[in-house]
Structures are given as C-alpha cells and as structure tokens.
Symmetry: C2
DNA sequence: GCTTGTTAGTTACAAAACCAACTATTACAA
DNA sequence: TTGTAATAGTTGGTTTTGTAACTAACAAGC
C-alpha cells in the first residue's frame, strides 16, 4: 500500500500472458479447424514428431504438462490413429508412444505451418531482438521465483 | 521426421506460453490462497484499482477479455463485496463498476505483492534486457498475424 | 408510433481443465 | 517372502471456460 507507481502494462506475468494468447490465437485456430486438436494434443504430437518415441512421463517432463493432461491427449490421439502405444517388456507400467504414418503427416503439416507462422510473428521484430527474446523467454521458463512475500 | 530444422524451443507461441505459465505460477498461488481469486477476477480487480471506475465493456477492451468472463468475475467480486455496481442513469444498459473499501485493500496488497514479484523476476535479467523484453511483448500482444497459410 | 438493428450484460449447456483418488506394476528392505 | 513405498498411467467428480442464445435497453429509419 504505497505510492501507486505500478502499471499492469509493465507487470511481466501479465505481459507474457497477453503476448502468449495473442500470438497463439491464429495457430490454435489452424490445428483446431484442420484436425480438431486441443493444445495438449498438439503439444504431444509435436514432441513425438520432434524427438521420436517417448513415454508419457518423458513428454510430461519436457513439456511441463501434468500427467492427466498427457493421458487424455494420448487417448484422443490414439483414437484418431495418430499415435500408437507399445508396452515396455521390462517394465510393464510404461508405454512407448510413437506417431503413426497419419500422425507423422499431420505433424509435418503442422510443423510447416508453425514455421511459417513463427516467421510471420518475427517479421514484427528485428533479428537481434528476436534472438534476445528467445533467450530471455527460455530463462524465464526455468525461473522458479520462490518466496516473494 | 524429414528435413527437420524446426525446434519447439524456438517456436514463439510455445516459448511465450511456457514463460507465461512459469512466471505466473507463484503469483497465482498467492491471490488464490489469500483471496480465493481466479485469474479473471484478479485482472478485473487490477483494472478497477488502476483506472478507477469502469464499465464491464471498458474492462473487456483494455484486458482483451471476453464479456462472459468479465460478467462472471464481476459477479463473484460483488458477492465478496470487493466491487459495487451502479447503473448509468442515461443509458440503463451499462453499469459502472468500482472497488469497495475491501476491494481497494485487496488490490493494494496484491499490487504490492505483484511489484515485489515482478522485481524478483527481473533479477534474472539485466535492465536493458528487461526494457527490450517489455517493448517486444507489447508489440507481440498487438500483433494480429493474419493468413499464414 | 413501429420495425429493425445494435449494444451491454447475463445465462444455459457443452467442452475442457483441475485435483484427488485409484489400479497396476516395480523396487526395496525387514 | 512379505510389507511398504514409489512410479506409470488412468478415472471420477468438481470447477472453469467457451460458445451461443438470450434479455433488456437504446438508436435510427420510416
């Protein structure tokens, strides 16, 4: 309760959320209309497309997604024949996930769209800004600000 | 997996979402635990705290929130006696919203927490980076990338 | 006056996210 | 070997959001 020198437009979490929402919107529309996918499904698809075979836990760690989200995303992706599951022989709790031919095709298309989309977003920025932005965002993604009270 | 020069870690919408989530987490916990607020409610509260009396539509425009979100947020905030509504005399469709004494107190506390939290996030960055980041994020928030197909 | 269109805000129902409890399997120690 | 804890993943019930339809009030044309 001090002097009111605070501005929402400077508050980083707010700014980040606004920018994230605005910059995801059009791409989101695309994978939703084209494949009826949710964000969780898109993310799982991309992880499998990029890194090949993974388990649900591995995806969870990389994408920082909760396991229930992954479970449901995988469920829907297998229904649509984009993903196959294979039980691990040694540890029968884990499942190895991989893209089917269809899944791979969808991934390839969406990846291209994403690339073009990204390029268009970056048009608004100059290259130095863009690189700095990515670096800073990665830093913030890992930041775990502790007790601020 | 073909000519694969695409990396999820470079895709701006993904990076932004990750950074936004990570950087909002602790603050979100705070207003949730302390006041049982949702993000929408926090945003409405802040807009009223910062700009004084506003209508729901005005908040919607500034915060880029859909009117149904605002409607529900305002409903809950009035239930908790953080916000009052006053019908406009001339145009009886519109309601002027304002913070109560309680609402103002909550706002003041959360604003201080937000300020400290923001400062802590910025610790990871040097001042020049921080300023650039804000500028770029504001730019991206307004960007409306059209047809990228 | 009426009719049509627009705007402010709410509500209803469906979709999705969240959280906690659950099953099945493995690990490990007494 | 048996009991306890840990891990992989799923399911159920509640909240929250999204979408579209709705009410109420104004506006503008005729």
């Amino acid at each position: 309760m001090e002097t009111d020198n605070f501005d929402l437009q400077d508050f980083l979490p707010y700014l980040l959320n606004q920018a994230a929402e605005a910059s995801s919107l059009e791409f989101q529309k695309y994978y939703k209309n084209r494949y009826g996918m949710l964000r969780t499904e898109w993310r799982v698809l991309f992880h499998l497309g990029l890194y090949g075979q993974l388990t649900a836990s591995e995806i969870g760690q990389r994408a920082r997604m909760h396991k229930t989200k992954i479970s449901r995303a995988v469920h829907r992706l297998t229904e649509r024949r984009f993903v196959t599951r294979r039980r691990d022989e040694d540890d029968r709790r884990v499942e190895h996930l991989a893209l089917t031919r269809q899944g791979l095709a969808a991934y390839a298309e969406l990846r291209d769209v994403a690339q073009r989309y990204d390029a268009e977003l970056l048009n608004a920025l100059d290259p130095a800004e863009a690189e700095l932005l990515r670096r800073v965002l990665r830093k913030l993604s890992e930041a775990r600000p502790g007790g601020f009270t």
